[in-house]
């Protein structure tokens, strides 16, 4: 039996980064991936002259050399930045509101963002300044967050009073409390549909971290696709002596006395005291660990959590350049939160995300994403109608895009591909094909996850990262989760 210091299951962003980080720190790491390439959904595919990105193709919290975001700093530790080519987007986002036909476009940088909001909603400036101030307080506190729930809360409170006070609150009550005008609240809270959870459920802490990093560092569009990042990290891991096995779907995680001892793939066993799972806990506890060795509280936790958004994606290769600069577009039916809230479980396809990118040869790529929650997709899909339903839903999404942007798309479609939750289920094995891990909600928001992770580890040596990890889902978040898990393992080993 081959022996390793750590085995990583799944070469998604989290798995790749934890493997790279452990290997770089002198550990002997085996990375097992069920597919034939690295990246998980940070991958791409080709159709004709187009290479489509399955992930978002935009890096947030990245910035650049002179103004590095956290992801840039993380990549710098592994000398990755010199090999990552990006194009800075001038604007952070473009919000299209269907019922009022309003458009809100926000540039990057806090000051510019605040100025723009003041233009759209006069009188919002002071509260926006307060908002970003709170964001900074949150960032400062979280960067020093204790490993466990703080033992001396008095001291913790004295150091980070705003953080402690804000922690229990959702987004909108905080924005109301700081007297941000209603319209500005609506604009600011409508854009983030692609977080894969509802604004009513997301904690202010999580929101503050994300919005702050988007606005401060802007978005960097990858020159090619996220698959370049995946192949880069896999390459660096191999160069450090790491080992990757593709086409290797783990059958069993071996445990003994509530400790990880290795994994089994087919007839082969590999031993290691640490297993990092860049896959869903439901799959790990539901089928990978011998039934009698699965801790009942781990089952309880898995059973209580709710799956995040299921994505429906339409990839369009157009034989025309688009008039839009590369940027993320979000379409919402209305700014009225009550209406949005009422529809929250059936938002498809009223809420859309669109990413525009110019290709070579004056062609362009438009990727549209819509979201299903709970069992909304499962209820309408059947084996018999699958292919017809795909086309029907894609057509609705394109119609919505055309009606809101007043930009005709259909006559210029040269290539089209459609990915459904079924496509993602096939590729990732994630429950119901979710690409968003667990829904960020109440007890399962960022802080409760971070502060309970050690206590909830009932099998010693078993760690989770990726979209089901403690940093929640997201392009950058999954890299951080991989890096953090590696840090925890390295600290434990010392």
């Amino acid at each position: 039996m081959k022996k390793y210091d750590a085995i990583v299951i799944g070469a998604g962003n989290g798995g790749l980064f934890s493997a790279l980080s452990l290997q770089k720190n002198g550990k002997k790491v085996l990375l097992l991936e069920k597919n034939r390439q690295p990246g998980g959904i940070s991958t791409s595919f080709k159709k004709g002259r187009f290479e489509f990105d399955v992930n978002e193709q935009m890096l947030s919290n990245y910035g650049n050399l002179s103004h590095p975001g956290e992801l840039y700093q993380l990549f710098e530790k592994f000398h990755l930045n010199e090999k990552v080519k990006t194009i800075a987007c001038h604007d952070v986002f473009h919000l299209h509101v269907k019922d009022t036909q309003e458009n809100f476009i926000f540039p990057k940088g806090q000051e510019a963002f605040i100025e723009q909001m003041e233009k759209y909603v006069p009188g919002s400036k002071e509260a926006m300044v307060t908002f970003f101030g709170l964001c900074e307080d949150v960032r400062e506190a979280i960067s020093h967050y204790p490993k466990e729930k703080p033992s001396d809360m008095d001291i913790f409170y004295q150091t980070y009073p705003n953080f402690v006070e804000l922690a229990p609150y959702k987004v909108i009550p905080v924005l109301e409390k700081i007297h941000l005008p209603k319209k500005a609240i609506q604009i600011l809270s409508s854009f983030w549909v692609f977080f894969g959870s509802f604004i009513e459920d997301i904690s202010f802490i999580h929101f503050a971290l994300l919005v702050d990093s988007y606005v401060t560092y802007g978005l960097e569009m990858l020159e090619y696709t996220s698959y370049d990042l995946s192949t880069l990290i896999a390459h660096e891991f191999l160069a450090l002596g790491g080992e990757i096995r593709y086409s290797s779907c783990v059958d069993e995680i071996l445990t003994s006395d509530q400790k990880v001892t290795g994994v089994k793939v087919g007839n082969e066993e590999f031993s290691a005291p640490y297993v990092v799972a860049d896959i869903s806990p439901a799959v790990v506890y539901g089928k990978m660990i011998l039934k009698e060795n699965v801790p009942s509280s781990s089952c309880q936790l898995s059973n209580e959590r709710i799956l995040g958004a299921r994505e429906f994606r339409v990839f369009l290769g157009l034989n025309q350049s688009l008039e839009f600069a590369p940027m993320v577009h979000v379409i919402v039916p209305t700014l009225n939160q009550k209406v949005l809230h009422k529809n929250q479980n059936s938002i498809f396809p009223d809420v859309l995300m669109g990413v525009v990118k110019n290709n070579h040869d004056s062609s362009s790529i438009l990727e549209l994403g819509g979201y299903f929650f709970q069992d909304r997709f499962d209820r309408i899909v059947k084996k018999e109608n699958y292919y017809a339903l795909k086309e029907e839903l894609a057509s609705m999404m394109i119609d919505l895009w055309e009606s809101v942007t007043h930009l005709s798309i259909k006559p210029f479609i040269e290539e089209i591909a459609i990915a459904t939750p079924v496509t993602f289920a096939r590729y990732t094995n994630h429950p119901d094909g979710t690409t968003y891990g667990y829904l960020a909600k109440g007890y399962d928001n960022l802080l409760p996850r971070l502060f309970t992770k050690d206590k909830e580890r009932k099998i010693s040596g078993l760690y989770f990262c990726g979209s089901f990890g403690n940093f929640l889902s997201g392009f950058s978040a999954t890299y951080f989760s991989g890096s953090e898990v590696a840090k925890e393992i390295l600290e434990e080993k010392e």
Binding site: R36, S44, P168, G286, C299, I413
Partner: protein, 380 residues
């Protein structure tokens, strides 16, 4: 007084903060202790639509023409086959003299009937010869699929369509034509179908019946080796395409390599935009290759094989002959199943199916790669 207020506020905040975590414990405590569900409807549907591989039984062999036979299969499990988009292909695994061969064949039966899949094969290579001479009704094979990217897509394609098809390549187009006529509200569909002689035409009666049933469907038969009244003579020509008032229509082309070489310049001279032309995928074999021998070293996990390879044979063919199991699917450099890493050596290869990240780190598709020196390859 102010201090007391502050203290109360602090106490309350701390209590709320701590409650965030205690609440999580409390909620989880009351949850079910059953093993978690990991198979949801989307997972189950994914397995039904794309089973890993499955056993099929050959139930019927039909002689279609002099050198074309159809093979009908049912699933050994008696389940229906997965629904498929017309134009899709499957791979069939065949063992001949202890060697395992996998080949891609278009599904030629209608996408409406999933009890059986039909493939329609022209006698050509080692596998088709085996199917012609040795395969018997009742035989069991392993099948994978359906796969493919050659489909009529209503969001992309025009309502007026022209198919240019050669010989046995009607196999994959036939279900597409049926689907266009039955399901896609096509305004007009023209099939220009080239064969050598009238006896080489596949499903003549079915095509003629379809023409009677659908007024918007029209077939032009073109014979290259037989002159007959009511049939065009020669190859599919500019003149025949002009007759179809082709402008603004979608083209679907499926035929042997020579047919593409003949048609591409014609379509270019007629100013048919690229985006209106869809090809059945095919591999181009470079012509100027000689039978020069090199060594191919293949690394697979902890194993290493060294086998001969030739400049006029793909690396995949060399591995297949020498029983090095490479996972393949389309065999024409598109699907990515066989993607391997070129560790050293010089090759001639088709990179059109590779992504930017693959090219950066020297990944290739052995099914469309010819060696120009000794080669060291890692397969996965």
């Amino acid at each position: 007084m102010k201090d007391i207020k502050m203290n109360e506020k602090k106490k309350k905040s701390i209590a709320q903060f701590v409650d965030l975590f205690d609440a999580r414990d409390e909620i989880i405590k009351h949850s079910s202790k059953n093993l978690p569900t990991y198979q949801y409807p989307a997972n189950l549907l994914a397995q039904e639509l794309h089973p890993d591989s499955f056993s099929v039984q050959l139930v019927k062999i039909v002689n279609e023409t002099n050198d074309i036979k159809s093979f009908w299969f049912t699933r050994e499990s008696k389940e229906n086959f997965p629904p498929f988009l017309p134009g899709s292909y499957i791979t069939l695994q065949v063992e001949i003299d202890g060697r395992i061969y996998k080949r891609a064949y278009s599904i030629s039966s209608s996408s409406n009937s999933l009890k059986e899949y039909r493939i329609t094969v022209k006698k050509a290579g080692i596998v088709s010869r085996y199917l012609f001479s040795s395969a018997k009704e009742g035989n069991i094979f392993l099948m994978e699929g359906p796969f493919g990217d050659f489909h009529y897509q209503s969001l992309r394609d025009r309502k007026e369509v022209i198919f240019l098809v050669g010989g046995s390549f009607l196999a994959g187009c036939y279900p597409m034509i049926l689907d266009c006529l039955e399901n896609h509200k096509i305004q007009s569909l023209s099939l220009i179908y080239g064969t050598k002689t009238v006896n080489d035409i596949l499903w003549k009666k079915e095509l003629d019946d379809l023409q009677k049933k659908y007024k918007n469907f029209h077939v032009t038969y073109v014979l290259s080796e037989e002159k007959r009244d009511d049939y065009a003579f020669g190859f599919i020509s500019e003149e025949l395409i002009l007759k179809e008032s082709y402008q603004g229509k979608s083209f679907f082309i499926s035929g042997p390599q020579k047919m593409y070489e003949h048609l591409n310049p014609i379509l270019k001279s007629l100013d048919v935009p690229n985006e209106l032309v869809h090809h059945e995928i095919f591999a181009t074999k470079p012509e100027d290759l000689a039978s020069v021998k090199h060594n191919l070293t293949v690394h697979y996990r902890d194993e290493t094989y060294t086998i001969p390879c030739y400049e006029n044979e793909t690396l995949f063919t060399s591995m297949e002959k020498n029983r090095v199991l490479l996972k393949v699917c389309c065999t024409v450099g598109v699907c990515g199943f066989c993607k391997s890493k070129l560790l050293s050596g010089e090759v001639k290869t088709d990179m059109s199916g590779l992504r930017h990240g693959d090219i950066t780190y020297h990944f290739i598709h052995p099914c469309v790669t010819y060696p120009l020196s000794d080669i060291v390859l890692e397969i996965f």
